[in-house]
């Protein structure tokens, strides 16, 4: 009565998925410094456990990686460094022109200073599209600094999209506080 696909059948079913793609260890172009800490490699080494072994179902192993925060150094900075934007807008309002001029002077005073401009959006809409919207805001600030003579090499425009709201909340006051670009010195 035993008509199972025993022995060979099961073996064929259960093995199979083991071969994994050989990964190239060569890092790809990395213009802003290393991002993966040693912790990542350590966790990877300690993994193995669930994978492999005859009779296990394939692909069940997941090796955990923990990325710990590297300590940030205090850097010199000056004055207010947050530009707020209107809804769906990337225009730097006149009231922030003074802020831009102050930061431009500060950057030009020392060519070794490096700043990141982080663009942010409110929580409305998709994550990736908001990432692109935040990028528009940070690039608007970078262009404004560039017009005042700050070399492009001193500032990097990046975006957090809606991932890092300055304040929680869904009312317009909260949303307005989150539509912003922050100038951060590194």
């Amino acid at each position: 009565m035993n008509r199972f696909l025993l022995a060979l059948g099961c073996a064929a079913l259960l093995v199979g998925c083991g071969s994994s793609v050989k990964l190239d260890e060569v890092a790809v172009e990395d213009k802003s410094g290393a991002a993966v800490g040693a912790q990542g490699a350590g966790a990877a080494g300690a993994s193995s456990g669930a994978a492999g072994g005859a009779g296990t179902l394939a692909n069940s192993g997941v090796a955990p990686v923990d990325v710990t925060k590297s300590g940030s150094n205090a850097v010199m900075q000056e004055g207010p460094r947050i530009v707020y934007f209107d809804y769906d807008s990337f225009v730097i309002k006149p009231e922030f022109q003074g802020l831009i001029e102050t930061q431009a002077r500060f950057l030009k005073a020392d060519q070794k200073r490096r700043a990141a401009i982080e663009g942010h959006t409110d929580e409305t809409g998709g994550r990736e599209y908001n990432l692109a919207l935040g990028q528009k805001r940070s690039e608007a600030v970078r262009r404004a600094l560039g017009l005042l003579g700050v070399p492009d090499g001193q500032v990097e425009a990046v975006s957090y999209g809606k991932e890092k709201p300055a304040v929680q909340g869904t009312d317009e006051a909260a949303l307005a506080k989150n539509r912003r670009a922050e100038i951060l010195y590194r």
């Binding site: 099961c10 994994s20 710990t68 809409g125 994550r127 692109a132």
Partner: protein
């Protein structure tokens, strides 16, 4: 065929009672009510699948308790039944009180009187080496036909997986479509200021952390063979795309260029990824070799181009652009060139996902301020909203094309849902504490 609401909640939720529904609207209200109840329940360590809804043609099936499963750490028959019911295509028929295994010959008359058309019976036995021997057989009760069976020798950790394989076998035998119960999903949670990228079974259980970080993680994307995940991590205080080998945890930077790097999408052959880079100013689409290297610019616009996704044949890339003044979904050849606009209704259409058969486009559309999952039949351009929630995000097709997983917000909390393509059967993957988001459904597992 009789139709009955699927109100079975596995691991039994005593607060939910069967009710019948005629209209989708009342169904949705019920889902929301259940969600509210779920929130007051103790938070479980793992996700829970809550099934509700009415399928038009559901196959009645009994999954008898596997002989010996009361001594095993997983109740295999319950996992198989929950899998099948979640598809919306099966209805469980109670088989309690009958002792059977894969060697039993079922009493056809008695089972038909109970209303079952099919029956699964099996056993689980602990082996000398500590593993478990799992066996089952599937019966067509209407024809008295043995539809075959299988056996597995698995570790305790893989018992759930063996149940999903059984559900896949049954699903394929009875519907003709590939089962997706043994596939995996990836998603991201945020708890306090801690982000985790999880890999879980397709039913949301058995979640394992692949990456923990104090900074956001978004846009996970399974490689076509399911061995790697590409994603965007902000751990270096800017968005950078990594490729992560799941089994070993080995990661490599794929795109870490000046500016923002995001929205990875694998080509079907796994050799390239489309990404969004701002290295040349503005968010534009690029192709990059899966091993890294210099990216090739794909789009040339002064607007936002992002969220690329390959067609199943790899020839076309669907993406989002605001070149027309508002975000809309476009397509172009994977080699670049001219673009065609696909969405014309509404002023905010984002996050395209293409069905495995290439016939349907799932996307998020803002209608009257609500962000809802929509489905477009590509041949005709006909579109329909398939949810009634207001903050849907990130749709992803199951690899057999019969379900979509997506993120949404219920009662102010981020959660994950699956839905059939007609929107009739929705399940909530709930219970993980914190905010749950960014799902991506992995490929079929190789057999």
């Amino acid at each position: 065929m009789r139709s009955r609401p699927l109100t079975q909640i596995h691991k039994s939720n005593k607060y939910m009672t069967p009710t019948s529904f005629r209209h989708l609207a009342s169904l949705m209200r019920w889902i929301v009510a259940c969600s509210a109840l779920a929130l007051v329940l103790p938070v479980a360590a793992q996700l829970r699948v809550e099934v509700s809804g009415v399928g038009l043609t559901q196959l009645p099936i009994t999954i008898a308790a596997f002989r010996g499963q009361e001594l095993a750490p997983q109740k295999l028959s319950l996992i198989v039944q929950a899998d099948l019911e979640r598809s919306g295509q099966f209805r469980g028929v109670d088989g309690t009180g009958v002792a059977m295994d894969e060697l039993s010959r079922p009493d056809l008359t008695a089972w038909r009187q109970r209303g079952a058309d099919s029956l699964v019976a099996g056993s689980v036995t602990r082996l000398a080496d500590g593993r478990f021997d799992v066996r089952f057989r599937l019966w067509d009760l209407t024809r008295g036909q043995d539809l075959g069976g299988q056996s597995y020798a698995v570790t305790q950790a893989d018992l759930r997986q063996s149940a999903h394989r059984i559900a896949d076998f049954v699903y394929e035998k009875l519907t003709g479509d590939k089962g997706i119960f043994s596939t995996r999903i990836a998603y991201v949670t945020k708890v306090a200021q801690r982000y985790n990228l999880w890999i879980a079974d397709a039913d949301g259980e058995n979640a394992q952390s692949a990456l923990a970080s104090p900074e956001p993680i978004i846009s996970p994307a399974w490689s076509p063979l399911g061995q790697q995940l590409a994603y965007v991590s902000f751990e270096s205080r800017k968005p950078v795309v990594y490729v992560h080998e799941v089994a070993t945890g080995k990661r490599r930077l794929l795109a870490n260029f000046r500016g923002s790097n995001s929205a990875p999408a694998w080509s079907p052959d796994g050799r390239r990824l489309a990404v969004t880079l701002s290295r040349d100013g503005g968010s534009q689409l690029y192709l990059i070799d899966a091993q890294g290297g210099e990216p090739n610019r794909l789009s040339q616009s002064s607007s936002i181009d992002t969220e690329p996704v390959f067609s199943t044949d790899g020839r076309t890339i669907y993406f989002v652009s605001d070149r027309g003044g508002s975000p809309q979904i476009y397509k172009m050849a994977a080699t670049g060139g001219s673009v065609d606009r696909l969405t014309f209704t509404g002023s905010y259409n984002i996050s395209p996902a293409i069905s495995p058969d290439g016939k349907s486009l799932a996307y998020i559309s803002r209608v009257a301020g609500a962000f809802r999952l929509h489905l477009m039949e590509l041949a005709t351009g006909n579109t329909v909203a398939i949810t009634e929630t207001t903050s849907d995000e990130s749709p992803s097709f199951a690899p057999n094309g019969r379900l979509i997983i997506y993120a949404t917000t219920l009662q102010g909390r981020e959660t994950l849902m699956t839905t059939t393509l007609d929107g009739r059967i929705k399940t909530r993957l709930a219970g993980q504490s914190g905010e749950i988001r960014e799902p991506d459904w992995g490929p079929l597992q190789k057999q």
